[in-house]
């Protein structure tokens, strides 16, 4: 996979595209970054035309998501067409609308995997987050049908203030269902910049517990180890794949570097995808950024290991700046404060007298 990514990067190929086919949804998750209205979604014909263009551009990994994609009546037609063009399709759903027929159809169409958000193994917690009574029961029933049909299923467990104690319960539920389990404590601002949903983020103290839980983190010692010394490869490295080998397209045809990076780079309704991908000034700006160019993070000892998200940084005002949520994660993991935390006076973590401790670099003999 690394070879494939390197090749795509060298050739300028958008290897992975995340396409939201709708923002409409049958759940109302309290932390969701989307509104749930239809402001003029692409039609079936527009999406088919877009998929033709994506295949022509060399896109291989296609994530179809939403909103809840199954609320579109042409959802299976879109999947079928994508598969006929040879895409590796990952499908994100809440599985509430999955019955035996839908499960069999996803399997027959060769969908590679289905990812489903599960917030808790306890209905009262999960349903309180989704605001849909009975949703956990229906989601779990859907997962069982998907597994029975022979599909690979991943339970995506976003941990928040309301459910951070339930990670182990969801992991065990995934094991019982024969599904993979992933955990992520990231809550992002809404696409329009509204930050009110951030109140759902896990408090730092609880995040520390999550990051040091061997049941949730495969190798705690390595995950929470102090960062390795920053070298030239890291300073010359790319922040992430957004805009380099991956991008995001909204239901309205707007192109972004990533689903978490609301820096609009054009519309595939007005221009050909490949023209935008190759010539967008916005994408060129994103692609120009290297580790050494980051305003605060370039001097941070966490530069090589931080999960810094340029999209979250952008939503805080500067795509070259730190992302406070990722600063917090790096600090909680390692106990070493970040350059962003020092620069930011309004952090929730007491900073008085703290200085960044950089890992010792062994002197050459």
């Amino acid at each position: 996979m690394q070879d494939l990514n390197r090749k795509a990067l060298r050739l300028g190929i958008p290897l992975s595209v995340h396409l939201d086919v709708t923002y409409r949804c049958n759940e109302r998750c309290e932390h969701c970054y989307l509104d749930h209205d239809d402001h003029g979604e692409m039609t079936t014909g527009e999406i088919r035309g877009l998929l033709d263009q994506l295949a022509e551009a060399g896109v291989f990994f296609l994530t179809l998501s939403g909103g809840e994609p199954l609320v579109r009546r042409d959802c299976f037609e879109i999947i079928r067409y994508a598969r006929s063009l040879g895409f590796n399709v990952k499908f994100k759903t809440n599985a509430v609308m999955i019955r035996e027929r839908e499960a069999r159809r996803l399997r027959a169409l060769g969908v590679e995997q289905v990812q489903i958000s599960v917030y808790s193994h306890r209905p009262e917690v999960h349903d309180e987050i989704t605001k849909l009574p009975g949703s956990l029961k229906r989601t779990v029933a859907g997962i069982r049908l998907l597994k029975a049909a022979g599909l690979k299923v991943t339970l995506a467990n976003v941990l928040m203030r309301a459910n951070f104690e339930d990670g182990e319960g969801v992991r065990l539920l995934a094991a019982e269902l024969g599904a993979h389990y992933t955990v992520d404590p990231t809550v992002t601002p809404m696409m329009d910049g509204n930050t009110s949903v951030l109140r759902h983020r896990i408090p730092a103290g609880s995040l520390r517990t999550v990051f040091h839980d061997p049941n949730l983190v495969e190798d705690v010692e390595s995950f929470c180890a102090p960062p390795a010394p920053v070298d030239d490869d890291i300073r010359e490295g790319l922040p992430c794949s957004a805009g380099h080998t991956a991008c995001y397209i909204s239901p309205y045809g707007d192109l972004y570097p990533c689903v978490q990076f609301p820096f609009r780079c054009g519309s595939v309704r007005r221009e050909r995808f490949l023209d935008l991908w190759q010539n967008s000034p916005q994408l060129a700006e994103v692609r120009s950024i290297r580790g050494k160019d980051l305003t605060t993070c370039s001097s941070c000892s966490h530069l090589g290991t931080c999960t810094r998200c340029p999209g979250l940084a952008y939503m805080e005002g500067d795509m070259r700046g730190p992302s406070s949520a990722d600063c917090e994660k790096s600090f909680v993991r390692t106990g070493i404060v970040t350059a962003g935390m020092i620069a930011r006076e309004t952090t929730a973590i007491p900073m008085a007298g703290l200085v960044q401790i950089k890992p010792l670099i062994q002197a050459s003999p």
Binding site: L4, L11, F60, F76, E77, R83, G86, A108, G110
Partner: protein
């Protein structure tokens, strides 16, 4: 020697990147990057053309290799991809399954 027919599985994703075919099986998520010869076999795997004919007409005609050696290598390649569910192999001609929508209206 019994004849072999090979067909691309409907459960795979594939893309040509810079002249090379990349394939991923939906069954075990194994990623393959095919060589030039393997690409020829993959593209010719229509379920109707015998493997021996693919080797004779498409490989031996283009590469300096004996038919026996080419067929042996092709068989090994086909068996490997078949184990990952990427190719189907049969002693009889096969239909290539194209993903279809079972019903247009499902709601």
């Amino acid at each position: 020697m019994s004849e072999k027919y090979i067909a691309r599985s409907p459960a795979v994703a594939s893309r040509v990147l810079d002249g090379e075919i990349v394939i991923m099986s939906a069954i075990d998520s194994t990623l393959f990057s095919l060589s030039e010869v393997a690409t020829i076999i993959w593209q010719a795997a229509d379920g109707q053309t015998p493997l021996s004919e693919i080797v004779h007409k498409r490989i031996c005609a283009e590469f300096d290799v004996s038919p026996e050696e080419a067929y042996r290598d092709a068989e090994a390649f086909v068996e490997d991809l078949a184990q990952h569910g990427i190719l189907r192999v049969s002693s009889k001609p096969l239909e290539i399954d194209i993903p279809v929508v079972l019903e247009d209206s499902w709601a």
